[in-house]
Amino acid sequence: MDLQEFVRMGGYAGYVWTAYGLTALVLAWNWWAARRCESAEQLSAQRRSAD
C-alpha cells in the first residue's frame, strides 16, 4: 500500500481524517470523563471514611 495515497484518501483527506480525529477525541473524552467520575467519588468516599 502506498502511504501517500493512503493519507490523501482519494482527495477527501480533510474530511475523512477530521471525522476519524473527532471520533478519537470523543472516545478519549468518554474514557477520561468516566474514569474521573469514578475516581473523584472514590477519593471523596475515602476521605469521609478517614474522618
Binding site: 500500500m1 493512503f6 484518501m9 482519494g10 482527495g11 477527501y12 474530511y15 475523512v16 477530521t18 471525522a19 476519524y20 473527532l22 471520533t23 470523543v26 472516545l27 473524552w29 468518554n30 474514557w31 470523563a33 468516566a34 474514569r35 467520575c37 469514578e38 475516581s39 473523584a40 467519588e41 472514590q42 471523596s44 468516599a45 475515602q46 469521609r48 471514611s49
Partner: protein
C-alpha cells in the same frame, strides 16, 4: 430468580460487579475499534460513487446507532426506576446521559463532515438531521434538569419523565428517512433481508458497532460506580469495605 435480582439491585453488590465487568468490556472494545478502524480505512474497497469519503460511514453510522441505543437504555432504566422505585436504575439512567450526548454530537459532526463533500452543504434542516439534533437537546435537557435539583430523588423523578417522553423521538429519527423526503439517504444496512451495501464493506461496520457497544458497556460501568458512591455516601457498606 427474585433473590438474584434483588441482590443485583443492591448497591454494594452492583458496585463490585461493575468493577469486575468493566475490563471485560474495555479491552475487547479497544481491540475491536482498532481492528475496525484499520479495516475500514485500509482494507475495505473504495466506493464507486463516493470514493474514499464513504469511509466516514464507519464512524458516523455506529455513533448514530449508539446515540439512539443509549437513549433507549436511558429511557428504559428511567422507566424501571419510576415503576419499581429502584434507585440503581435511576443512577444508570443518569450515567447514560453524558455518554449518549457525546455520541449524538459525534453523529451530527461526522455527518456534517460527510455532508459537505457529498451534498455540498454542512447542514440542512431535513427530518433526519433535525430529529437527531432534537435528540442532542433531549440529552442536554435531561442533564440540565437533573442538575437543577438538589434532592437526588426529585431529580430522578423529574428527569425520568423527560427521558420517557423523549423516547418518542427515537422511532421518529429511525423512520424519518421514510416518512419525509430527506437529503439523508434511506437505510442501507438495517434491511436485514437484503442490505444494499457490499458485504466486504459491511464487516468493518459491524465490528465497529460491536466495539462501540462494548465501549459504552465500559463507560457506563465506570460512571455508574461513581454514581453509586455519590448516592451511597453515608451507607454502612462503604465504611465497612475499607
Amino acid at each position: 430468580m427474585w433473590l438474584w435480582l434483588h441482590k443485583l439491585g443492591s448497591p454494594p453488590h452492583a458496585y463490585r460487579l461493575l468493577g469486575k465487568m468493566a475490563p471485560w468490556f474495555g479491552w475487547p472494545a479497544l481491540a475491536l475499534i482498532l481492528i475496525a478502524t484499520y479495516w475500514g480505512l485500509v482494507e475495505a474497497p473504495r466506493d464507486y460513487q463516493q470514493g474514499d469519503a464513504f469511509r466516514i460511514l464507519y464512524v458516523h453510522a455506529p455513533s448514530a446507532w449508539m446515540s439512539m441505543f443509549i437513549y433507549v437504555v436511558m429511557a428504559v432504566a428511567a422507566g424501571i426506576g419510576m415503576v419499581w422505585r429502584i434507585k440503581l436504575a435511576h443512577a444508570a439512567a443518569a450515567a447514560c446521559a453524558p455518554i449518549g450526548a457525546s455520541f449524538t454530537f459525534l453523529a451530527l459532526a461526522t455527518g456534517s463532515i460527510w455532508g459537505k463533500p457529498m451534498w455540498g452543504t454542512w447542514w440542512v434542516w431535513d427530518a433526519r438531521l433535525t430529529s437527531e439534533l432534537i435528540l442532542l437537546f433531549l440529552y442536554l435537557g435531561y442533564m440540565a434538569l437533573r442538575s437543577s435539583f438538589d434532592d437526588p430523588q426529585r431529580a430522578d423523578r423529574a428527569s425520568a419523565v423527560l427521558a420517557i417522553v423523549g423516547v418518542i423521538n427515537v422511532p421518529i429519527i429511525h423512520y424519518s428517512v421514510e416518512w419525509w423526503t430527506t437529503l439523508h439517504q434511506p437505510a442501507s444496512v438495517t434491511k436485514l433481508d437484503k442490505p444494499s451495501i457490499a458485504i466486504e464493506m459491511l464487516y468493518p461496520l459491524f465490528l465497529m458497532i460491536i466495539g462501540f457497544q462494548l465501549y459504552f458497556g465500559w463507560a457506563i460501568s465506570r460512571r455508574l460506580r461513581g454514581e453509586i458512591l455519590r448516592r451511597e455516601r453515608n451507607a454502612k457498606w462503604l465504611k465497612e469495605s475499607r
